[in-house]
């Protein structure tokens, strides 16, 4: 009981802001975006673009928080039960609205209705209109049949999903056989419905743009439903945020020209899903820029954006895969390649001295989603969100390995309306490090190619290239290096530099499914600590397989995993040791100063 105050007071003294492990030494390296800032950014955007009166209440946050206060272990147990709190926290009208939905659900779905309670949460939650109820019942029927698959898998009925046109959905005249033609199979199969997470991108006019699984042309009806849901709520000057139906969450991100929808049964919080949608939206902007999107859709309301995005499916697929296993996305932080300070400084110097080119904004050396070094133009910072898009572009594009490349790229946090031009080249065939030189001048390719040659000469001369390759080959460090036997794994984020570090996954997290489980636990811990209505400073939870400890101060965030039998004093003692170890290693694990050209 008494440990918690002890830990905070003892360590608040020891690690005042600015002296915690990994605190930046001079001006900030990347950006100092805390999770709260991002949350604010998400919220602000939604309000700005969608709710004309800009009045949003905290209904959403509360409902979300209340529904997710159960520990992951409890959640597993009550899989099929909808938390009654979910509905009770919503505003009165909202609840009423839900009941109507549920009742219409009854008539439509029959068997599954007991397990499929649906909760819709909107921006204001106050103006839920009742007069257009029949529309909702059609929509709801489709939604519920989609979510019905998990509630009672044996009773999945294909004909309920594949309604041909929204106008005659309520007509039971269509027989199942009509929909069971072979080419329609996959998108209406149980396998498709049971995918953990579906992501859809559609235009404001409801035209399909991207879906994670299956062929979007076969899902036109479903896209229509999503568009209808969004515009239905919008017609009452409100904005839909998410719907909870059984185990499924339907999260909506509505932007000026696009609608993004995540349908997940992964038990991730809606905040995390919304953040993922934001990354995907930024990925679209990164390819096309906001101004181009605006120009296209203002000219042609129902333009098929897939024409312009052709060939980029892999980039989206890759981003979604990585977001499902890399904590850097929800932490909004960047991982650095562990490297001796002297080596890193030499690399940064070599780049800064040999790339003195007018209009060169950033020089970035990366490897496999890790930052090696970053040299920037004075007064310009690179936001972690943008850096993740760069990581993703490089890891999703094999062709960069074959030759030097020159491509326009938009970094939405830097400037969502314009392109930077990127010179992209791997350092060496033997080395997995990729150099990016970003400029605003589109004619600089040969100049930058020349810079790269000079940088390479310097790196080879100083043996830095060898050191980088060596570090890449060695991979991440082992937890045993910290010398804390009780500790299994941890994530440590330095908030002032937006960088984080974590050891490699070892026993018992070597199997893919265990790693996935650990990832979800971290997500849950992160969500609980940052939840809007009741943010926590320290959280200690004991689960069946492990004990989790999360601790957030103004300078850092720490998430640690212990064995299930660890006691509180032992855990706290361990993280104190861990912080000392990180402090000792900070020069190797973080980039603490930020060179400029």
């Amino acid at each position: 009981m008494a440990e918690e105050p002890v830990v905070s007071s003892a360590n608040d003294d020891e690690f005042k802001q600015g002296s915690e492990p990994g605190a930046c030494r001079n001006s900030m390296l990347i950006a100092t975006d805390s999770y709260e800032d991002i949350a604010q950014y998400l919220k602000a955007d939604v309000c700005q673009s969608d709710v004309p009166n800009g009045k949003s209440t905290s209904v959403v946050g509360d409902a979300d928080d209340a529904s997710e206060t159960s520990t992951p272990d409890q959640t597993v147990k009550c899989q099929n039960r909808v938390d009654p709190e979910e509905t009770s926290v919503c505003s009165e009208q909202c609840t009423q609205y839900d009941r109507q939905e549920v009742s219409s659900d009854d008539s439509a779905v029959g068997d599954n209705s007991e397990e499929t309670a649906t909760t819709a949460v909107t921006e204001t939650g106050q103006n839920s209109p009742k007069e257009t109820l029949p529309d909702i019942s059609c929509i709801n029927r489709q939604l519920s049949s989609l979510s019905a698959s998990d509630g009672s898998p044996h009773s999945v009925d294909t004909d309920q999903v594949c309604q041909p046109a929204s106008s005659d959905v309520t007509e039971p005249s269509v027989t199942a056989e009509e929909y069971l033609s072979p080419e329609l199979d996959y998108v209406h199969s149980a396998q498709w419905k049971n995918q953990d997470k579906h992501i859809f991108i559609l235009s404001k006019a409801g035209k399909p743009i991207y879906c994670r699984y299956g062929d979007e042309d076969r899902l036109v009806t479903l896209f229509g439903v999503m568009q209808a849901l969004v515009s239905f709520i919008q017609s009452s000057k409100d904005s839909i945020r998410y719907i909870v139906a059984g185990d499924h969450k339907f999260v909506f991100l509505v932007r000026e020209h696009l609608i993004l929808v995540a349908i997940a049964q992964t038990k991730e919080s809606s905040t995390h899903l919304l953040l993922q949608l934001t990354y995907i939206y930024n990925q679209v902007l990164s390819i096309l820029t906001l101004s181009q999107l605006g120009r296209i859709f203002n000219m042609l309301h129902n333009y098929d954006l897939r024409r312009l995005l052709s060939g980029t499916e892999k980039t989206f697929d890759n981003l979604l895969n990585v977001m499902n296993q890399d904590p850097s996305f929800f932490l909004c932080a960047v991982r650095c390649l562990p490297l001796e300070t002297s080596v890193r400084d030499t690399v940064a110097q070599s780049i800064a001295q040999n790339a003195k080119v007018k209009d060169l904004v950033y020089a970035i050396l990366i490897t496999n989603h890790q930052l090696i070094t970053l040299v920037r133009m004075k007064h310009y910072f690179l936001h972690p969100l943008d850096l993740h898009l760069i990581f993703n572009l490089v890891s999703a594009t094999e062709s960069f390995k074959a030759a030097e490349s020159w491509t326009p790229i938009c970094l939405p946090k830097f400037d969502s309306n314009g392109y930077l031009h990127a010179y992209i080249s791997y350092l060496d065939e033997s080395c997995d490090a990729c150099l990016l030189l970003l400029t605003v001048d589109k004619d600089l390719f040969f100049t930058l190619s020349d810079c790269k040659r000079k940088i390479m000469e310097k790196l080879t001369k100083h043996h830095s290239l060898k050191a980088i390759c060596e570090s890449i080959r060695r991979g991440n460090y082992c937890i045993s290096e910290a010398g804390i036997p009780e500790l299994r794994h941890f994530l440590y984020k330095s908030r002032s530099t937006a960088q984080f570090t974590s050891p490699k996954f070892e026993v018992p997290y070597t199997a893919e499914e265990d790693r996935q489980r650990l990832f979800r636990l971290y997500q849950h811990l992160h969500y609980r600590i940052h939840c809007n209505s009741r943010p926590l400073k320290i959280m200690f939870t004991v689960g069946e397989y492990e004990t989790l400890l999360g601790w957030v101060t103004s300078g850092f965030e720490l998430y640690a995993v212990f064995g299930p039998l660890v006691t509180k004093p032992l855990a706290i003692n361990s993280i104190n040791k861990l912080l000392k170890w990180i402090k000792k290693e900070e020069d190797r694990l973080f980039i603490l100063n930020s060179p400029t050209f």
Binding site: T312, S399, E404
Partner: protein
């Protein structure tokens, strides 16, 4: 005796998925990559061909075929000495699209290993090539058939061009050429020099030759 060095810039154009990168990668690194990801922006390759007393250094811009990169293409063919127009013999659309380009040195029909699915007849492509005074090849980036010939031919014609001019500044494509906006050859400024009667090679000659260095 040291060889004369000729530096030339080549741009590879064509619709997405016809196999532009495959051809270049197959030629330069003998990489038999079955499924190369779509090119992002443009990739830059260099290679060297020694022919007689000449060292021909080719700088190849392999462009992305997707529509969204179209606005960037002028950047690559500006200052180029030669262009490869690549189409897919199993795709009529890809052949029709290259016809909107009017400045050509070589028309290349790729995927000749898929002759069973051919929809663009050899004769038709040859006729088109002749009509724009270009040369026609068919290649297969999968089996490497015909690829060597394309680049050898390029090198030969570049040497020919060099000898005809004796000017280190090779003729380059005009800045003004554009894709779909250019309906006919007439809209291009500058004169056309026929290099080789047998080969039907034509090269647009900018009245004021520009230096090929960037």
């Amino acid at each position: 005796m040291s060889n004369t060095i000729i530096e030339a810039k080549i741009v590879v154009l064509g619709m997405t998925g016809v196999g532009k990168t495959s051809i270049v990668v197959q030629y330069i690194s003998h990489g038999n990559n079955q499924r190369i990801n779509p090119t992002i922006g443009a990739s830059f390759f260099t290679c060297q061909i020694t022919l007689d007393s000449y060292n021909v250094k080719l700088q190849v811009w392999d462009t992305a075929g997707q529509e969204r990169f179209r606005s960037m293409t002028p950047m690559y063919y500006r200052n180029a000495n030669a262009a490869l127009l690549v189409y897919d013999i199993t795709s009529r659309e890809s052949f029709e699209e290259i016809q909107s380009w009017v400045v050509v040195l070589c028309v290349v029909g790729n995927k000749s290993d898929l002759a069973a699915e051919r929809v663009v007849p050899v004769e038709e492509a040859q006729d088109f090539a002749i009509s724009i005074k270009a040369f026609h090849f068919e290649t297969s980036a999968t089996t490497r058939k015909g690829i060597e010939e394309v680049f050898l031919h390029l090198a030969k014609s570049l040497i020919f061009l060099y000898e005809a001019n004796r000017d280190p500044n090779m003729p380059v494509y005009n800045d003004d050429i554009n894709t779909c906006d250019m309906p006919s050859v007439n809209t291009i400024k500058g004169k056309t020099i026929t290099l080789d009667k047998e080969d039907h090679i034509a090269q647009q000659h900018h009245a004021k030759s520009r230096c090929c260095s960037s």
